[in-house]
């Protein structure tokens, strides 16, 4: 099967890959580019642990073909922190204990980041609705919601 040469921006840096059409974006990110913050869970677009930002929208990278990211902008959890330190969303998850085992956390962070870009001053109901595509098998939702609320406040003050 003919491979496709693709290039896209990953966390602000240009990357290239040679992919089969059936290669999923999450596989390119984890195995080809070796950024393993983005996780694989259910692989059938239910659990949300593979969530990344594609062209400014949250998507499940297990259900997007790598060829579909060609020419696009991708953000993963590795792109959140800067030289100055953790992103406000990450800091809020630390302070509010927004994680237990941590498996769902990278996707929670990337989703929370995009959700707060779209809705900087959300109500609790809006947060629950906006984060509803991400499962936490530890069921630690309460502190995840608190962390998103806290991050919203921090980002508004910044």
């Amino acid at each position: 099967m003919a491979k496709h040469h693709i290039s896209f921006n990953l966390n602000g840096k240009p990357v290239e890959a040679l992919v089969e059409p059936r290669e999923l974006l999450v596989h390119t990110i984890r195995e080809n580019i070796q950024l393993t913050g983005t996780h694989i869970g259910c692989e059938t677009s239910h659990c949300g642990v593979c969530t990344v930002d594609l062209n400014g929208k949250s998507v499940k990278s297990c259900t997007v073909l790598a060829v579909q990211a060609d020419g696009g902008d991708v953000l993963t959890v590795e792109g959140l922190a800067t030289a100055e330190g953790l992103h406000a969303v990450q800091q809020a998850f630390v302070e509010e204990h927004g994680l237990q085992c941590g498996f769902c956390t990278p996707a929670m962070l990337v989703r929370a980041y995009r959700f707060l870009q779209d809705n900087p001053d959300p109500s609790e109901d809006e947060i629950r609705w906006g984060m509803s595509g991400n499962l936490c098998r530890c069921t630690g939702y309460q502190n995840i919601i608190k962390a998103v609320q806290s991050a919203a406040k921090k980002l508004q003050q910044a």
Partner: protein, 287 residues
């Protein structure tokens, strides 16, 4: 999980996609991919050729012309929710889209994909029946119009040929004497409906001059509860009449038993969704 091997083509136009559908054996269109790709990963589907229609401009956008709203088939669920035209003129579609899957899936999943895929659990088919929508379908010989009523023939079976593409959906703007209701019972976010019911009701004074009741996931495909509709049409709707209609809904359902419940349970839940949707539709049509 990895799919079988396939060739990938990004279509540049509707004509390009139709040509590939004609020339490539067993080719499938790739819309949002959130039904097709999971099926391919589980090897329930192994198309040798995928035609990606995500970058075709003619399949995008929502316009209002006169009292007709035209929705490009590749409009995503989140674009439906965000559309001011739909919020104002077709709120049923907005409320239905809000209950489809989850935020990430709604960024990729499209109204056209949901309609044509053919899974009885998909939400838009019954909504299209309630809205009396019209589909614009294009094939090698040009465009044709196809009413939603009569499009859904069975599970993964619609009134569309192998080399045709759903291009757009047309619905009428809601009038002042109309009201909608939408209720969907699901076990959790992202699940298909146990049962769902979109309802569109028109009042003439106190009487119901027209009503369309769609039913999701209680038959091999989306259906209308026509016997229940006939009971209500021309009548002043009260709770006794809604009860009689609910009995007709139960009789119209033939759901498959699965982890979401028994056939009897699902039929009764469908009736309850219809009761609630009619109440909401009545209230909205009156105000």
């Amino acid at each position: 999980m990895i799919t079988s091997q396939f060739q990938y083509h990004k279509a540049s136009s509707i004509e390009d996609a139709i040509q590939k559908l004609q020339n490539e054996e067993d080719a499938k269109l790739l819309a949002g991919g959130h039904s097709l790709l999971p099926m391919m990963k589980l090897r329930f589907a192994e198309p040798p050729y995928l035609i990606d229609i995500n970058d075709i401009p003619e399949l995008q956008g929502i316009d209002l012309q006169g009292d007709t709203i035209r929705i490009g088939a590749m409009t995503t669920e989140n674009e439906l929710i965000a559309s001011e035209i739909l919020q104002q003129h077709c709120p049923l579609l907005v409320e239905a889209a809000k209950l489809v899957a989850d935020p990430q899936v709604r960024n990729r999943g499209t109204i056209g994909g949901d309609i044509v895929h053919g899974d009885p659990g998909n939400d838009h088919p019954a909504v299209m029946l309630a809205l009396d929508a019209n589909f614009i379908i294009q094939g090698p010989d040009g465009k044709r119009e196809q009413p939603a009523n009569g499009f859904f023939l069975g599970t993964y079976w619609n009134e569309i040929a192998e080399d045709e593409i759903l291009v757009a959906i047309e619905v009428k703007a809601q009038k002042d004497n109309q009201g909608f209701g939408y209720h969907k019972l699901k076990r959790k976010t992202g699940d298909y409906a146990v049962a769902g019911s979109p309802v569109m009701l028109t009042l003439d004074g106190d009487k119901c001059s027209d009503i369309r009741i769609g039913l999701t996931n209680v038959a091999p495909m989306a259906i209308r509860a026509t016997e229940a509709e006939n009971l209500l049409k021309g009548q002043e709707i009260d709770s006794a009449l809604i009860e009689k209609a609910a009995e007709q809904v139960i009789a119209a359902c033939e759901p498959a038993e699965d982890l979401r419940g028994s056939s009897e349970y699902k039929s009764h839940m469908a009736a309850e969704m219809v009761r609630r949707s009619i109440q909401d539709a009545l209230q909205r049509a009156r105000s």
